[in-house]
């Protein structure tokens, strides 16, 4: 073994490289607050590996993105876990970037001669945020779609930004090219840029070494110097392990990342960015009209410029914290501002009922969409998942088979009754008062026997009683409860005064030339009409509607009946 190693070493110089890396002196000794850079490198490597694994399932197109993510999340072994780790990993990177920056600021490590490394570090931090922004859109779910609309919208709102927005999102609106572009940036451009800058960052770090506490004298620093291995290495590995452990725990506790319903440009989703962008989101609320550029560009840009200029802003003679109070106070104020804005955004949402309701609905839609996606999603796109819903199938059957004659809320044919609010009290009132209008039986040949009852023939209070009686006959107390006293009054009118019972029977099964009203309007009754409206207790000879018995399956007829029934339930 040692001979093999000697052979490899003599040809590659790996031994020297290792000795140099491991033996690097840490002036003043190993410290826990030096771990952040190593933890970030570890997190980045982990994100790369996880990203590659996700890419083996993910398909970046408007038609496939959501469906492939749902497949990975809900069907592939370990998919939810790896995607969850990748998602929480980005949060972890942002947290550790901030901790790293705080440590660098407190230690004064941005000062000469380390200015370039400070700038590279800021650029790396920016790249981490760019990763988060581009990755958020990729699942093509409601959350990513709407939140990213805001981000690209900001870009388009600055002077000259319209073209940039169009190039980045691949057109004037979101579509296939938005995904391929965000994907290419997320998985090729950003990792290459981050990897390259990371090498430069580490090279410069090695060149200048750690920035030891200013309180130690040169002599003390030399005296306490330890080699990187094993002292600092141990702390670094410990920190990586703790970070990895927290990530795994978080992923398991949250069952990975959210996946909302497929992106729908016609919906109104309560869009929120990822938590670490909430302060920017909150900032947008304060500047109105032409001033909005202050919140979108000027303040964030000003803060970035300030951080870039920090090595020059800081004119203090020494690195000691005591001599840099002013600079530390400025950075501290900025951090406090970020924390405060984030907190305000969170509190406002917690108190906003509309937001809470929107969230609840979004979650319900998400779980329904993902349940339906288990059957496979049609290639038309994520939203096509809704077509797996039997209720949706019924609407398609309706538009193909029924809408030629029946309208729904005015849309559709006018040869048969409008079913928009079928059998609601208002519908029944209309059917009695104006049976010959297009919304009822006006367009139906053969349905000429039913007379219109105007107010003289049937005063409003009597009409209400009769309608209430019809509701009782329908006998669906759980969806349409009735007023018993009023219904009883209606029953009396029906039996003793009005002529309805001459044609309409009310005991199940009996025919009288017009539909029997027992159970009229229930799902079962509607299904019977669809099967064969010419039944002896339905429309008999006057039936215009074709029989669908045998043309549609039982399941289709039942779904259709449930759909029509549902139209009258709102």
């Amino acid at each position: 073994m040692s001979r093999l190693w000697a052979w490899v070493d003599s040809r590659t110089g790996l031994g020297d490289l290792w000795r140099e890396a491991a033996g690097e002196p840490v002036p003043g000794g190993a410290r826990a607050r030096y771990v952040f850079g190593s933890v970030l490198t570890f997190l980045f490597m982990q994100q790369v590996v996880l990203g590659i694994l996700l890419a083996t399932y993910y398909s970046p197109s408007a038609s496939d993105a959501w469906a492939s993510t749902a497949y990975l999340q809900d069907q592939v072994t370990g998919g939810w876990f790896l995607r969850g780790l990748h998602h929480h990993g980005s949060s972890a990177m942002v947290v550790v970037v901030v901790l790293h920056m705080i440590q660098v600021v407190i230690a004064g490590a941005y000062r000469a001669p380390r200015e370039f490394n400070w700038w590279i570090g800021l650029a790396l931090g920016g790249l981490v945020l760019a990763f988060a922004l581009t990755g958020y859109l990729l699942p093509w779910d409601q959350k990513g779609y709407w939140a990213t609309q805001v981000a690209t919208g900001i870009m388009g709102s600055v002077p000259g930004g319209g073209g940039m927005q169009q190039v980045l999102q691949g057109g004037v609106e979101y579509g296939n090219l938005t995904l391929t572009r965000f994907y290419a940036v997320h998985v090729f451009v950003l990792p290459l840029a981050l990897g390259g800058l990371l090498v430069a960052h580490i090279y410069l770090f090695r060149r200048h070494g750690v920035t030891p506490p200013a309180t130690l004298s040169e002599h003390e620093l030399r005296q306490k110097t330890q080699p990187f291995m094993p002292y600092q290495l141990f702390l670094d590995v410990l920190a990586m392990t703790v970070t990895g452990g927290v990530l795994v725990a978080l992923t398991v506790a949250t069952h990975g990342a959210d996946l909302y319903a497929p992106a729908d440009p016609s919906s109104n989703f309560v869009a929120r960015p990822e938590w670490y962008f909430l302060f920017l989101f909150q900032l947008l609320k304060y500047f109105e009209g032409p001033l909005q550029i202050i919140g979108t560009v000027l303040i964030p840009g000003g803060v970035a410029t300030f951080l870039m200029a920090l090595p020059f802003v800081d004119r203090s003679p020494s690195r000691a914290v005591s001599s840099r109070r002013r600079v530390l106070l400025m950075v501290g104020t900025l951090m406090a501002g970020v924390v405060a804005l984030t907190a305000i955004a969170a509190v406002e949402d917690a108190q906003n009922e509309g937001y809470q309701e929107g969230q609840e609905m979004a979650r319900a839609n998400a779980s329904r969409a993902r349940e339906l996606a288990l059957e496979g999603v049609l290639p038309e796109g994520g939203s096509a998942v809704w077509r797996n819903d039997p209720a949706y199938e019924a609407t398609v059957t309706f538009s193909e088979r029924c809408a030629v004659c029946h309208a729904v809320d005015g849309v559709g044919g006018d040869e048969a009754p409008d079913l928009g609010a079928f059998s609601t009290r208002a519908w029944l009132v209309g059917a009695i008062r104006t049976p010959r209008t297009a919304a009822y039986f006006g367009g139906t040949k053969g349905h000429t026997d039913m007379e219109a009852y105007d107010e003289a023939a049937l005063p409003n209070d009597q009409l209400d009683a009769v309608v209430e009686y019809l509701v009782r006959l329908r006998d669906e107390p759980e969806v349409m409860p009735w007023d018993e006293a009023l219904a009883a009054q209606g029953a009396k009118l029906w039996e003793e005064e009005l002529e309805c019972s001459g044609c309409h029977e009310v005991n199940a099964g009996e025919g009288g030339g017009a539909p029997n009203f027992a159970g009229r309007g229930s799902v079962e009754w509607i299904a019977r009409v669809i099967r064969n409206s010419a039944g002896p207790d339905l429309y008999e000879d006057s039936a215009e509607m074709p029989s669908f018995e045998g043309k549609l399956t039982d399941a289709e007829i039942e779904a259709l009946a449930a759909y029509v029934h549902g139209l009258g339930l709102e």
Partner: protein
């Protein structure tokens, strides 16, 4: 020579990246779309979804939702507003209680005429062209640049 070599790749690469600037990548819905019967609409705006065939780069899909609009009839006049917030593109809601349009993202609100009453929106809601065709209402769905004071058609 090196510059020439780089140029042979860079020039087409630039063209490829900037392609969406001068070509219509997505299209569809540039015509009037039926949204319902006149009788369905009243003073209170009603949200309708706009269905159209859409071409998205290499895909063509038929009858998909490309957006939504609020349609109202007031004193015989028809009006339609896009549900896209002119601020930064979130979907607007209509709040019946206060009888105004509200953006769930950054607190912009708009009155029934679409004018901004509160919040960061730089202009009022974007009115869409609307037509009454013998009692059937048709809307032309369009998108406009967000975050700017002028209503500027995209595409």
């Amino acid at each position: 020579m090196g510059a020439g070599l780089a140029g042979t790749v860079l020039a087409p690469a630039t063209g490829l990246v900037l392609f969406p600037l001068h070509e219509d990548v997505t299209s569809g819905g540039e015509e009037f779309v039926m949204v319902g019967d006149r009788a369905q609409f009243g003073v209170v705006p009603r949200r309708v979804e706009i269905f159209a065939d859409r071409k998205d780069a290499w895909n063509r899909v038929t009858r998909v939702r490309i957006g939504a609009a609020f349609v109202a009839v007031k004193g015989g006049t028809l009006s339609a507003f896009s549900t896209v917030c002119p601020h930064l593109g979130c979907g607007i809601d209509f709040d019946e209680e206060s009888s105004c349009f509200k953006c769930p993202c950054h607190r912009s609100s708009f009155d029934l005429e679409g004018a901004v009453t509160e919040g960061p929106a730089p202009r009022g809601l974007d009115a869409l062209e609307i037509e009454d065709r013998d009692g059937s209402i048709a809307v032309m769905y369009q998108r406009f640049r967000q975050g700017v004071a002028q209503k500027e058609l995209l595409g």
